[in-house]
């Protein structure tokens, strides 16, 4: 295709269509990293790797753009000289402006990079939601125990009568058959058709990215008598327990029923900065 073109063109010049996705993705990733939103989607180490990748993309863009400008300037000079001399090489403009490149594929591919960018900018800054917990296997006790075993959770502190731990700690204690009073931070999820008074306390464990996050889910129910004793109206508590609502839940473990009976609860206004375990 281009064998017959000017020798001066043998260092390729990147077209605007090739360069803009690099700028867009580089800038978008840096934005996600700077605002901390990247950690809602990627595990920490992968977040840092993504930033390094973004810097490479931006560097490639800057270099490519600079190269393009230099070549354009040189070409304009040559064309001016050619005009003065009364000759015009018909092929040379093609290798600069990118005309004559193969097909529409590259333009479609280039524009396709817009799709995830638009989606990304429209997403709320939050972690994986309750629907994912249900879709991805919340409630599988064997898996939950194994997941919990991957994390060190023996850092218990007492808050009142409750030992405060992470949700993995709660899951481990439950699967180990321990009857304890514990508290943990989590969000609410329910399976389809599950009664409102039965729910899961869920947090996700992130291995690499949101696509492979695994839910650690502890089945829970409200202990209405205990809640009343602490001045709560169980009906109002139940009404406020929507999916994705973040709570600090305190209760007693019932290993036989494989459930946490919630005796005290605090509703959080927003999810924590790091929603993952």
């Amino acid at each position: 295709m281009a064998d017959n073109h000017d020798d001066r063109c043998h260092v390729p010049v990147l077209s605007w269509w090739e360069l803009w996705p690099m700028l867009a993705w580089g800038a978008y990733t840096v934005y996600l990293y700077a605002t901390g939103r990247i950690f809602f989607l990627l595990q920490r180490i992968y977040g840092h790797i993504a930033l390094a990748g973004a810097c490479l993309l931006l560097a490639a863009f800057v270099y490519g753009w600079g190269m393009r400008l230099r070549r354009l300037r040189a070409e304009r000079r040559r064309q001016a000289e050619d005009r003065e001399a009364g000759r015009l090489d018909a092929l040379r403009p093609l290798c600069i402006c990118g005309a004559g490149e193969a097909g529409w594929g590259r333009y479609v591919r280039s524009l396709a990079f817009l799709v995830p960018l638009v989606v990304g900018f429209s997403l709320p800054a939050r972690g994986v939601n309750a629907l994912a917990a249900v879709q991805w296997g919340a409630g599988d006790v064997a898996m939950m125990a194994q997941l919990a075993a991957q994390k060190e959770t023996e850092r218990t502190e007492m808050r009142g009568e409750y030992g405060w731990t992470t949700l993995t700690g709660v899951a481990q204690r439950l699967s180990a058959g321990r009857q304890e009073k514990v508290g943990a931070m989590a969000f609410i999820a329910r399976k389809k058709g599950q009664p409102r008074d039965q729910f899961y306390l869920v947090r996700f464990m992130m291995n690499c990215c949101a696509a492979c996050a695994q839910p650690v889910a502890v089945p829970a129910r409200l202990d209405e008598a205990a809640l009343r004793g602490r001045g709560f109206d169980p009906k109002r508590v139940l009404a406020a327990l929507d999916e994705d609502q973040w709570v600090n839940a305190y209760g007693r473990l019932d290993p036989e029923g494989e459930v946490l009976w919630v005796e005290d609860i605090t509703f959080l206004e927003r999810e924590p900065d790091d929603p993952y375990l």
Partner: protein, 358 residues
């Protein structure tokens, strides 16, 4: 003396026109864009759409740096490794060729996203197709990072050594068997002629790279420019296919419950097939998949091994990337042979480990 009008537009006029055009476009943009953004935000606040979006963006964010690493290696290979030198490195005997390709993943430690541009480039350079297949399939499994993460993930279950050895052994065996089959199918020689159309269309602003004119010509700037142009091209080409695969994967993750797959955990062969299907749908990076496999405690050793061997070879995003990078016959061979081989070898390895460990 007054200058005669030349009919052209000078630089100042161009700037004025650009500023005027920007001002005219800015007004509707200022109205339309916030409106579009508001509606999109409302749409993605829905649980399923949100999940779809999160998975899509997460897979891309995670995979792009590795594709970029692969594209960089690919660009360096293109510029600094002439086909003649590559030809001299290739052993004549088939078993040696396959072993060399399987071991190359240790020297070029890239994961499954990054290895596609490298394998594609080597294929274009004249690497025999059977070697490209073995390198592509075994590379992400013998990668030292992957071996280390597998060993660490299964320490708690006392399966660190058997799982790591079984993963590497099964991965290399599957890759070599597929390589042999491809060799038998394609015959001798490289697959340069059979490369997909996208390869032939690979040009940079009219400069055809396939003509071999991009070797280092002494000027450092032009070498960097050549490498860069190949990086950009590979990134865009495979990034486009990665995007397609990610869209599919995100759709499957957001709309398909995993309960059905998890429910077959205790049925021997079915469990391994289910885990392989799970690996295909989840698109987990090979450097982190061992931690996920370790969590599927209700599945047998063979099931989890199937997940670890099959995932780096085939998943939704990888199939999309293979489509853009390799000849269709090669892709067909991989699609037809990898699943049954992974299933059989995982079951066999599971049986052997069960015998050895009592």
């Amino acid at each position: 003396m007054a200058r005669l009008p030349t009919g052209g537009i000078d630089r100042r006029d161009k700037v004025k026109i650009a500023v005027l055009a920007a001002a005219v476009l800015a007004i509707p943009a200022a109205i339309v864009l916030p409106w579009v953004h508001r509606h999109l935000e409302a749409f993605f606040s829905g649980a399923r759409a949100q999940l779809f979006g999160q998975v899509l963006v997460a897979i891309l964010l995670e995979a792009f740096p590795f594709v970029l690493i692969g594209a960089t290696i690919s660009g360096l290979v293109e510029v600094f490794l002439p086909p003649e030198r590559l030809a001299r490195l290739i052993p004549r005997r088939l078993p040696l060729r396959l072993l060399m390709a399987a071991g190359a993943g240790i020297i070029l430690p890239v994961c499954e996203c990054g290895i596609v541009p490298v394998a594609r480039r080597l294929l274009r350079k004249g690497l025999p197709i059977e070697m490209a297949v073995v390198f592509m399939l075994a590379g992400p499994i013998v990668n030292p990072m992957v071996v280390a993460s597998t060993a660490v993930a299964f320490v708690g279950q006392g399966l660190s050594l058997p799982m790591t050895v079984a993963r590497v052994a099964c991965g290399v065996t599957v890759a070599m068997l597929v390589g042999l089959a491809v060799y038998a199918w394609f015959g001798r020689g490289s697959a340069r002629d059979a490369a997909p159309a996208a390869d032939d269309a690979h040009t940079h602003s009219g400069c055809a790279e396939a003509h071999g004119r991009h070797g280092p010509d002494g000027a450092a700037g032009s070498v960097v420019a050549n490498v860069l142009s190949h990086i950009v091209h590979d990134f865009l080409l495979l990034g486009g296919y990665l995007l397609l695969g990610s869209l599919l994967a995100a759709g499957l993750q957001a709309f398909m419950p995993r309960d059905l797959l998890v429910s077959v955990g205790k049925t021997p062969v079915l469990a391994t097939a289910a885990m392989m299907l799970m690996a295909f749908l989840l698109n987990v990076c090979s450097e982190a998949d061992a931690f996920l496999a370790a969590a599927f405690a209700q599945f047998s050793f063979a099931g989890r091994l199937g997940f670890l061997v099959f995932g780096p070879m085939l998943d939704v995003k990888l199939v999309a990337m293979y489509l853009g990078a390799f000849p269709k016959r090669m892709l067909l061979a991989v699609l037809l042979l990898v699943p049954p081989l992974c299933l059989t070898l995982s079951e066999l390895a599971g049986w052997v480990v069960a015998m050895l460990m009592g």
